[in-house]
């Protein structure tokens, strides 16, 4: 997607209240449903060049947009499109925008009609390269349109985030057979925002309805800091719910003379990301890795400006290349995307803040270039000159506290990433080999946190094994 949601903050101009943005459409081979195939594969592209039907996706027009409504199609089915022309007007939560095409071709089929809504990333139309392919695209649209407007489906069993805490059963409202879930307006809004499947939430509000706090509990986030003011002495029909709301939201009084320091922009961003991470079911797998060989290598290459960070990033990148699922990410709880690049973000503490400069293509760049790149990024981070893509394009994060003597720790998964690796200090450890001989080896503990919706225990274990092998035989790092 060429449309980066973080950069585009649409502000509609007045004379024409629509702004224009472009969408990129990816080549989607006729095979449906295999997400992997969407990732750029040059060979495939070459072979399918005769039948190129592109999907037009619902673009992300703002950072908060989760779905968009088609206001109108400017072009009709069968109409020729030229690169840069407006094709469709999309309404987001913020504004209406013209969306233009990056490609020449024909608007073969409209999958999502005017007035309908589709989630960000869903196909809303098909673009055929030549007139001859319009028919084919139409057939394709017909076969897929039924599933195009995605109805939130229950997430797979493993992701059921609702903590099955025994809730006090709500005052049973006249048991009249199976009832459908009733959710309040704000609960629905929150569910959409936090991508919680409302059907899976147990309602604890009055009459068993799902309230905002139920959704917040299901999403694993703290109740919002600005609770609706509860009218005092109002004949409260729901004492339990009210009491719960007030106990959870009233923070202890501040000690006298405590100073209140508002968050800086960076702190707010960190806070937001951390809260968001609570909606992801994570688990952790630790692995001890011998570092004698790595330390030896480090001594050799240090003089050439190679840092330990670069070594670890390179090792991780190479291991990730062999285990693409660990480099994947899950954004909507319904699908996961294999990232085409291995971008290793490295957590850095700067002036009391935290930022994660990204070493792009860590598996492909050689050690020296990685080291050089890293120096550059750290310099930019210090002077607050990092560009957004230099800190938010990571697909995997590395966090190293080993230099402080920390032997093990546990990292929180950043939003949009599938895994994060926490690296502890390398320490001389007494180990017994298989023949029963003791020796002292340098060992470091790495602890990986992963999104269990997409990465399972065996995946992580295999990845860590590969990582350990690379670190223990680090010659490949310098190749």
């Amino acid at each position: 997607m060429a449309v980066s949601s973080s950069i585009l903050l649409p502000t509609p101009s007045l004379s024409n209240s629509k702004s224009t943005i472009s969408f990129a459409s990816s080549v989607s081979p006729s095979l449906r449903g295999v997400v992997v195939l969407r990732s750029p594969s040059s060979r495939r592209r070459a072979t399918t060049v005769r039948s190129k039907i592109r999907e037009i996706f619902m673009p992300a027009l703002s950072s908060t947009m989760t779905e968009g409504k088609i206001v109108s199609w400017i072009k009709t089915e069968g109409e020729k499109l030229a690169k840069g022309e407006s094709v469709v007007v999309v309404e987001s939560d913020k504004a209406d925008m013209d969306v233009e095409t990056f490609y020449d071709g024909y608007l073969a089929a409209i999958v999502v009609g005017e007035g309908e809504t589709a989630p960000v990333g869903a196909a809303i139309g098909l673009l055929a390269e030549s007139e001859a392919e319009i028919e084919e695209a139409k057939n394709k649209a017909a076969s897929s349109s039924s599933s195009a407007v995605v109805v939130p489906s229950p997430p797979p069993a493993t992701s059921s985030p609702a903590p099955a805490i025994a809730q006090p059963s709500p005052p049973a409202a006249a048991s009249d057979g199976p009832r459908k879930n009733i959710a309040t307006p704000y609960a629905k809004k929150l569910a959409k925002q936090h991508r919680v499947d409302i059907e899976s939430v147990a309602g604890t509000g009055p009459f068993g309805r799902i309230t905002a706090s139920d959704v917040e509990a299901a999403a694993g986030i703290a109740p919002s800091v600005t609770p609706p003011p509860s009218p005092p002495a109002a004949a409260a029909p729901t004492p339990t719910a009210k009491a719960k709301a007030t106990t959870t939201t009233s923070s202890p009084p501040l000690l006298p003379d405590a100073s209140i320091v508002p968050f800086t922009a960076m702190q707010s961003a960190v806070s937001k990301n951390m809260i968001e991470s609570l909606s992801v079911p994570t688990f952790r797998v630790g692995y001890p890795v011998s570092t004698d060989a790595l330390d030896a290598l480090y001594e050799k290459v240090k003089a050439k400006g190679v840092t330990m960070t670069a070594l670890l990033a390179k090792a991780a990148g190479m291991a990730l290349a062999q285990h693409p699922v660990v480099n994947a990410s899950c954004r909507d709880g319904k699908s996961f995307s294999y990232n085409s690049n291995i971008n290793v973000a490295v957590a850095v503490s700067i002036n009391g803040g935290l930022i994660t400069p990204v070493l792009q293509d860590a598996d492909k760049l050689d050690l020296y270039m990685l080291s050089q790149k890293w120096k550059e990024l750290v310099g930019k981070a210090r002077s607050k000159q990092l560009q957004p893509h230099e800190y938010n394009s990571g697909t995997f994060t590395l966090s190293n506290l080993g230099m402080f003597g920390v032997d093990r720790f546990d990292a929180i998964l950043p939003p949009g990433q599938g895994t994060i690796m926490a690296v502890g200090a390398s320490k001389p450890t007494v180990v017994a080999d298989k023949d029963g001989f003791f020796s002292v080896k340098n060992k470091m503990l790495v602890n990986v946190t992963a999104d269990h919706r997409i990465v399972y225990g065996a995946d992580l274990a295999a990845f860590l094994q590969t990582f350990a092998k690379i670190v223990e035989n680090p010659d490949s790092l310098t190749l």
């Binding site: 007045l14 004379s15 209240s17 939560d93 913020k94 005052p171 409202a173 006249a174 009733i182 309040t184 307006p185 704000y186 629905k188 809004k189 509000g205 009055p206 009459f207 309805r209 905002a212 600005t226 609706p228 003011p229 509860s230 009218p231 005092p232 002495a233 109002a234 004949a235 029909p237 729901t238 719910a241 209140i260 508002p262």
Partner: protein, 563 residues
Amino acid sequence: MQSAFSLSFSQSSLTPPNRPLCSSNAAPRNLRFCGLRREAFGFSPSKQLTSCRFQIKSRRIEVSAAASGNGAPSNKSFDYDLVIIGAGVGGHGAALHAVEKGLKTAIIEGDVVGGTCVNRGCVPSKALLAVSGRMRELQNEHHMKSFGLQVSAAGYDRQGVADHASNLATKIRNNLTNSMKALGVDILTGFGSVLGPQKVKYGKDNVITAKDIIIATGSVPFVPKGIEVDGKTVITSDHALKLESVPDWIAIVGSGYIGLEFSDVYTALGSEVTFIEALDQLMPGFDPEISKLAQRVLINPRKIDYHTGVFASKITPAKDGRPVMIELIDAKTKEHKDTLEVDTALIATGRAPFTNGLGLENINVATQRGFIPVDERMRVIDGNGKLVPHLYCIGDANGKLMLAHAASAQGISVVEQVTGRDHVLNHLSIPAACFTHPEISMVGLTEPQAREKAEKEGFKVSIAKTSFKANTKALAENEGEGLAKMIYRPDNGEILGVHIFGLHAADLIHEASNAIALGTRIQDIKLAVHAHPTLSEVVDELFKAAKVESPASTTPQSVKAAV
């Protein structure tokens, strides 16, 4: 200021100055009447100078006539020159103007003076909205922080809020009553009905005669059938304004002015709101562009969801441990669509005329869906399509434009006619406002209406828009969200409609409505000066952004302004 001006005109010569008529409390209410009073005269621009001078002169004469008393009818054969049935805002406006014109006037009220607007409508709702606006602001941490303010958790006392609303209604009601008493209007208590031509009964068996009669009985909340109102969990605006409870979840049936304003109040006080709208779009009746923007600001970010294209076919109040049940059917197919369970349902589906028991059969008048048919001069039309002499109907009861100030303007128009000056009220010059945060206001045609008219009559239509984002005062208030839009004729500079969504929009619309009423053209008004920095510059920008082909008129602006 206008109010003080025109009222004191008649009053100073009449009553001791210590009457609370022009107390600051009365000012906002009266300001509105009198703004309209201006419009109601609707001079054509070419005659403006002369007719105005004449007007002022004649007014003076009549003021002194009025001073000679509201004592004797000019025609001895009647008890009164004018009897008004219904002392709402419409009746009040008519009565005041009638006295000013020297008519002996009586007003009959079967309930409380002030009618819907003062007791169960615009006035108490403004009190609630004043609270909701402040709550909203105090709760908006981001907004406060951007001012550098820190506010700890804002809370409210429901009874205190409710008292503010009822106190305001009482205050305004007293002001209204006093203003009529001060002028010598006879306030007759009892239910009024028409006995025959020029004959009215009130109370048990008091019969009076009048040369002219105005029916101004107003309206009551309209409750569609299938809905059971119990006044506690299924309520109308009458109950809601008492604010006896703030439910966790309230469904509002209807997303017009009333529904929107209450959604603003309830969400600010912590309720969640579900709108039920029969039409396919929320906020029908507003200019589409404005309603779209308003939805983004007033609906989407708040704790509100909605069902459109559905009727609430059945609403049962909460009882026996069950919540309020609302059956929704498709507005077109009538098929069952959904069942909602909420804590309270507010019925805001509009208002029905209150014309039962008026004795209309005595004069052979048949109501249409309850409304009394009238011509453009508010003269009542009987069952045979003929005008009933000396009988007029103003306000919600005739259904032309169900707004308090429209009723008042219609009443003034009628008084003008019965005192010998023909007058037709231009309803397109009557502004309307919805007091949400921010406010919505409009006057004249919407863009689709204007385009339809243009097509039919063969003229061109242009649109000018300005944003509150570009206004210094709005930005100083951190309230840059908003849009003003003007629909006009580029050939002659006529203003067809103005729609404003933004901070204090309701106050800003009058420059446009006055321009429409007085026939002022854009090329002239754009030369007028606005104080800087004020919100009024939003409207100024609008005039300046318009591209009009004809040049400014030769009349010097200063002379016009003096008029």
